[in-house]
């Protein structure tokens, strides 16, 4: 006998309106009688309607994994399974997307076929950490679903106290502002530490994110334990003919109000002939003028990345952004990418060895102080790491001369290398 689709008076109201409705999608699946997921989705809709009525969630966690892995599945067991038995298990498979979230229709169709056979037919592109979320799988089907996805080249992502799934922006694939090969950086770093992702053993989560420029399209500074943000250190490139064209078209006042005076460090000036004067030593590579004058301005040629460490949201000590740990590193040669991988390894190892349970690396830095952290990871201090020097006098300075000498030696070594 066909199971009845539940009445969903409240959810039905979310079918109206111009934006695509997830409820309509859920209903389509619930009404796919004959498909293996139809009854599960009927009860899923029933439980969701129940949540809308009572304003409460009814899922609890548990332990579900696939052979050889300790993470990557988000187990969900219903607390109201007696009322909605066919969706009593509704686990999610977190699956890592291709770097840059590129797909062809063929692989998307294959994913649909797999999820129609083994899961609920509901897929989210993507979760907030970047995973493709295959939502809704019974415990029994989890292994088969993963096997099928793994056969077409996809692997589980991170969950729990582990290296998490990463994201990279579209970058080199379609963006002229991209300052390093994001695909290579993303795959090099994450694929080197898959053991940390698949078998959770860290103090807490650790996230990498890769943005090709300071526009930070994957929100790395706020959300990543280690953010790799593209930048350059030589002069910004200016095509003065295109600048003139832009000024002629947009108007001089508009250009001054929206480009010149919006520079955060007053590094721009419009010349009397409508060409642009750039004070590159004052420029902080914020991207605003380049965003506005896409044809006239572009990043310089000496490109690489800034590394910021310690971003996270509120729990437990309050919001933290990543802060600069490496002001600049080249990201071009094989050797450069090996250095990035080594730095990532150092970071993960330091985190594993020194963070307290359930402490993110930003909180760890907060607890021990940046100088101790830098000493721990073997990185020299740099004035680009701070907004300003300390304002309180609570510091012991009797080794000042020795510390100053270290600075002089480093500067001398740097000048010798240049």
């Amino acid at each position: 006998m066909t199971k009845k689709t539940p009445d969903t008076k409240l959810l039905d109201e979310l079918e109206d309106g111009p934006w695509p409705s997830f409820v309509t999608g859920l209903k389509r699946l619930a009404n796919d009688d004959g498909k293996p997921y139809a009854n599960m989705m009927k009860d899923l809709m029933g439980q969701l309607e129940h949540s809308y009525e009572t304003r409460r969630g009814y899922w609890k966690g548990g332990t579900v994994s696939v052979f050889g892995y300790g993470g990557g599945i988000i187990p969900r067991f219903s607390e109201v399974a007696e009322k909605f038995p066919d969706s009593k298990e509704f686990h999610t498979l977190r699956v890592q997307p291709p770097a840059g979230m590129h797909y062809d229709t063929d692989v998307l169709r294959k994913m649909c076929d797999i999820w129609e056979e083994h899961g609920s037919g509901l897929i989210a592109f993507h979760g907030q950490s970047g995973d493709i979320m295959f939502q809704g799988c019974s415990t029994d089907n989890t292994q088969a679903a993963f096997d099928a996805l793994n056969e077409i080249g996809f692997d589980l992502g991170g969950a729990g106290p582990a290296l998490r799934t990463s994201m990279s922006c579209v970058g080199h694939a379609r963006c002229e502002q991209s300052c390093y090969d994001e695909v290579r950086a993303h795959r090099t770093v994450i694929n080197a530490f898959l053991d940390e992702m698949h078998r959770p053993a860290l103090p807490y989560k650790f996230k990498f994110k890769f943005s090709g420029c300071a526009n930070d399209c994957v929100n790395a500074i706020h959300r990543a334990d280690m953010a790799v943000i593209g930048t350059w250190r030589d002069d910004m490139k200016v095509n003065q003919d295109e600048v003139k064209k832009y000024v002629a078209e947009a108007g001089r006042k508009y250009t001054i109000d929206n480009v010149i005076t919006r520079c955060p460090t007053n590094a721009l000036s419009l010349n009397d002939d409508d060409t642009l004067d750039v004070d590159n030593e004052s420029c902080v590579r914020c991207m605003h003028c380049i965003n506005v004058m896409t044809k006239a301005l572009s990043p310089g040629d000496d490109r690489g990345a800034s590394i910021l460490v310690g971003g996270k949201r509120s729990l437990k000590i309050g919001d933290q952004m990543g802060s600069v740990i490496i002001p600049f590193m080249k990201l071009e040669s094989d050797e450069d990418f090996e250095k990035l991988e080594e730095l990532s390894e150092t970071m993960i190892e330091f985190f594993a060895d020194n963070a307290l349970e359930h402490e993110r690396i930003g909180e760890c830095i907060d607890r021990i102080g940046l100088p101790a952290f830098l000493e721990g990871i073997g990185v020299e201090i740099d004035p680009n790491m701070i907004n300003h020097p300390r304002t309180n006098s609570y510091v012991r300075t009797d080794d000042w001369d020795a510390e100053a000498e270290k600075w002089r030696e480093r500067q001398a070594a740097r000048h010798a290398a240049e």
Binding site: G57, V66, G100, V170, H222, N258, C263, G318
Partner: protein, 360 residues
């Protein structure tokens, strides 16, 4: 008894998939060699490579949580009207890439006809990034998908046009962990009552020292209730953050009337012009009112249109408020300023006005 016929298949730990097999051929060919871009109209990007190659991208909104029929429909559109290659943005928009400009209009028409709004580029309101909610999360206070659907219905016009002073990034989160992230406008669950503890279950379900350690204000301590080892909360100290609830589900933080929504403004990820910022509290205690959350919608619209009407070109919401000052902002959106807006947590004093810079 049947013998177990097969041992489980051992995973091939492939990690992050190589995107090049899926990428549009023009993107593969010009990888790292793009020169400039412009936008033909809202929802359409036009990129030109250094060798003169051109590619057009049409961006459309999705419901993020998609049934296989929706995904297949998008694939059909991708095959018939585009060139079989797509990508998703950070905000769950889908992008179709085409190699000739004449394919752009028919693709837009088809997407629009099938109910996928084309837009989300430039100075628009893009799709709201959001979390799982009642559909799937184990600790949700609300259903972000429903909040987002309700708001995006109202914001549809602002998605398909580029009429905002700068881009607007809205986020929602179903608990104070804030998986939705920072936003120009953020709609987040804000609990208002301390957890209600089921003392019969704590000892069996929760690792008590770990739960004690999670509390940001040290309000949780071990206790014995009816002869059972459990935890208790000093309700005078408790800030109702919900941090104890994930590691200890018997400390229920949600209820049908105490779980509320708060709205925050001025979060910014980009480094363009000003440094990245966190969002700041505007209003709390809004009812968690499914299926359409009208009270939330009203405040979001008020903020959004005050911004649209008053901000200068390229000012993000936070940058606009920075210029006009918080007194003016609260006046413009007719919102009370309360003691709860003043940060009294650790480090909060740095958010006070330590100057005579006063807006009159």
């Amino acid at each position: 008894m049947n013998e177990i016929k097969t041992t489980p298949r051992r995973a091939v730990e492939t990690g992050v998939p190589d995107p090049f097999p899926y990428m549009h051929p023009l993107m593969v060919k010009n990888y790292g060699n793009w020169d400039w871009h412009d936008r033909l109209r809202p929802g359409v990007l036009h990129h030109v490579a250094k060798n003169g190659d051109e590619i057009w991208t049409v961006r459309a909104g999705t419901q993020r949580q998609m049934d296989v029929h929706t995904i297949r429909k998008l694939c059909d559109i991708g095959d018939q009207f585009a060139e079989g290659h797509v990508r998703f943005t950070t905000r769950s928009n889908i992008e179709f890439m085409v190699s000739t400009v004449d394919k752009v209009e028919p693709l837009i028409e088809k997407l629009t006809a099938e109910g996928f709004p084309v837009g989300g580029t430039g100075n628009s309101v893009s799709m709201i990034s959001h979390t799982q909610g009642w559909l799937h999360c184990d600790i949700p206070g609300t259903d972000a998908s429903g909040v987002v659907k309700s708001l995006m219905d109202k914001l549809h016009k602002e998605f398909i046009t580029e009429e905002m002073p700068n881009r607007v990034r809205i986020t929602t989160s179903c608990c104070q962990i804030n998986c939705g992230g920072q936003g120009d406008i953020a709609i987040n669950v804000q609990y208002t009552k301390p957890p209600v503890i089921n003392h019969d279950l704590v000892a069996n379900v929760c690792e008590r020292p770990a739960v004690v350690a999670r509390c940001p204000v040290a309000a949780i301590r071990p206790a014995m209730v009816n002869g059972k080892a459990t935890l208790e909360v000093d309700e005078k100290k408790c800030i109702c953050c919900g941090a104890c609830y994930p590691p200890c589900p018997p400390m229920q933080i949600n209820s049908d009337d105490s779980t509320k929504l708060a709205i925050w403004v001025g979060g910014k990820h980009s480094n363009a012009r000003s440094k990245p910022t966190f969002h700041k509290l505007v209003v709390a205690n809004l009812p968690n009112n499914p299926p359409r959350w009208p009270e939330v919608e009203e405040v979001v619209m008020k903020i959004l249109y005050a911004y649209k009407d008053n901000a200068r070109h390229f000012e993000r919401v936070g940058e606009w408020i920075e210029r006009i000052g918080w007194p003016k902002f609260f006046e413009l959106i007719d919102n009370p300023f309360t003691r709860h807006h003043i940060d009294d947590f650790r480090g909060g004093r740095s958010s006070l006005n330590q100057s005579t810079h006063i807006h009159f």
